[in-house]
Amino acid sequence: MKKIALANMNALYEAIAKDMNLYVPIDNKASVNYAEWKQGDTPVFDKMTVRSAKDAFFPQCENMSTFSRDDDNRIIIDKIKLTEKDFVVMGIRACDVKAVAVLDKVFLSEPVDTFYKARRDHSILVSLSCSRPEETCFCSTFGIDPAEPKGDVAMYIVGDYAYFNACTDKGEKFLNGVSGLLENANDTDVDAAKAATREIMTKLPLHDVTTDGWGAGVLEEMFNRPEWEELSSSCIGCGTCTYVCPTCQCYDIRDYNGSNGVTRYRCWDSCMKSDFTMMAHGNNRTTQLQRFRQRFMHKLVYSPTNNDGEFSCVGCGRCVAKCPVSMNIVKVIKTMGGKK
């Protein structure tokens, strides 16, 4: 374990930003979100970011290739260069770290998504142990310990110090690179803070949410439950829940016709949207009930069926906080879960 006085953090940011891009949570007055650190910025580590760290690996919009035509109308394809520069994302909470593992399963399985892989290969994840979980947090439902996040390096902010523990070789190398700024510390220095966080977790409003009744192999039973009707009736299909979700990975591929040719890009999409499954000759999910059900069945039944029981919700609570009609995965889990 290493530590640095919070008063000296700016020197650490400077040292990192010298060779790499550094992304940290920044309060831009409108919201707290990850942004590239610039001299003078003060990261905000005690608030949950509105959007997750997903953007760093799977941006909302990214170009994939460009097409142009030569004088004979022949198509010329130019590939987009993959990320080559190392970058650090600092301050990722345990739930979002787990979410990156969920995305890895999707994008790094064959055939590998090279855009995503390049970013993962060049990234260093500095996670953050939660000291102030929010009222909407329920990561423990999915077995995540917010006090002990993973990533390449785990960071703990306790008292006047930030503590760092390397979790991977990459993390070890990273800490060695800035070792001049760090002093040795004891693992036990952060134990009391971890215990305090775990204590808070047991008192949060959503602490007793369980996944009973959900998981692999309950497709038929859950799909046909009558409760979907009532649950989905208020959903306006805005897609907010999917955009703020750190594990939602659906995307669209589109062409932009510019003056210099065509740019093919991909952008986040949402299964909650009415045209998500629309084909030229039909649509297989025509009602909001079907689309609503798809989102939650995917996270709570289909994902675990395909991934050894792993849910694709990490309990970050973003959809709970942001849905304009106060519908969310917790209500779905509870309404149909085994507890009832």
Binding site: M64, S65, F67, N73, R74, I75, I76, I77, K79, V106, F107, S109, E110, P111, V112, D113, T114, L219, E220, F223, Q249, C250, Y251, D252, I253, D255, N257, G261, V262, R264, R266, D269, C271, F276, T277, M278, M279, A280, H281, N283, N284, R285, Q290, Q294, M297, H298, V301, Y302, T305, N306
Partner: protein, 282 residues
């Protein structure tokens, strides 16, 4: 036998392809033969039932079954029905024009395993003949591997029949190969059968000692499957294909997800008992 893994770097980057032939099949179906613009080759290997993403840059991209057989090593063919913006513009293209193609995607028909040694019964409606033509011509090229072959094909009218020439002039002349064509309503000059595919199927009264492959509009598939079951077929003897919206083709964009399956990689070919395990939203 077909382990043409998609090269990882190229997962979403297409090949540029040149149209070398356009056949007008019906008022709304054209068949395009394409080769690589770079070397005149077939761009990639595929197996019957697999699909590819065809695109006109700036217009859009959509998934089509590869209708040519892998045994055709000169070009790849796609039969395209005009029903949206992309297909409308595709229909306006001519020999020499370029498009892009990426693939192959999805699971093949088990031509080298479960189909081997079996009698085969292909049942198609309208453009549904496109994916089956690949299997049929593959089976014809490897004739000794399969038993009796029957094709039951139907369309709305005689002018809606796709690949009619090929099936009546080539397939029907093969040994142990019968072609049964039907149209929905009587027409002057039509001497073949008149009636819907499911009805004709019952009239033909096939025994159940064969593997059946169905492709066509969902409603036809439903009634044909029902008919086959009545005729003593087991769902494990019947194969079909599902069609859902697709974008990536590689199981990542979530578009074609149904139940715990992704039609672009786990399908489009399914055995009918496997379909029973999917939620009813296809």
């Amino acid at each position: 036998m077909c382990d043409n893994k998609i090269s990882t770097n190229e997962a979403l980057i297409p090949h540029v392809a040149k149209i070398i032939n356009v056949r007008t099949q019906t008022h709304d179906v054209k068949t395009f033969a394409v080769v690589s613009s770079v070397d005149g080759g077939v761009m990639f290997d595929h197996m019957p039932g697999q699909c590819a993403m065809v695109s006109i840059p700036g217009v859009g991209e959509a998934m089509f079954s590869i209708t040519s057989s892998p045994t055709n090593t000169a070009f790849k063919e796609f039969s395209v029905k005009r029903c949206g913006i992309l297909t409308e513009i595709l229909h306006g293209l001519e020999e020499g024009d370029e498009i892009t193609v990426r693939g192959p995607y999805g699971k093949q028909f088990p031509v080298e395993t479960d189909f081997k040694g079996e009698n085969l019964l292909f049942i198609a409606g309208g453009i549904g003949i496109a994916p089956l033509r690949s299997v049929i011509n593959y089976a014809r090229a490897n004739r000794d591997n399969y038993g009796q072959i029957d094709v039951l094909y139907g369309a709305r009218s005689s002018s809606d029949l796709v690949e009619y020439e090929e099936m009546t002039k080539e397939w029907a002349n093969d040994k142990n190969f019968n072609v049964h064509v039907t149209i929905d309503r009587a027409e002057e000059g039509w001497e073949g059968n008149v009636g819907f595919v499911p009805t004709y199927l019952k009239e033909l009264a096939f025994d159940n000692n064969r593997t059946a492959v169905i492709c066509g509009p969902p409603i036809m598939i439903k009634f044909v499957l029902g008919g086959l079951i009545e005729m003593g077929f087991n769902k494990t003897q019947v194969y079909t294909t599902l069609e859902l919206k697709m974008k990536c083709g590689i199981g990542k964009c979530g578009r074609c997800n149904i139940g715990s399956k992704y039609v672009c990689k786990d399908g489009p070919v399914f055995r009918c008992d496997e379909i029973d395990e999917l939620p009813n939203e296809y």
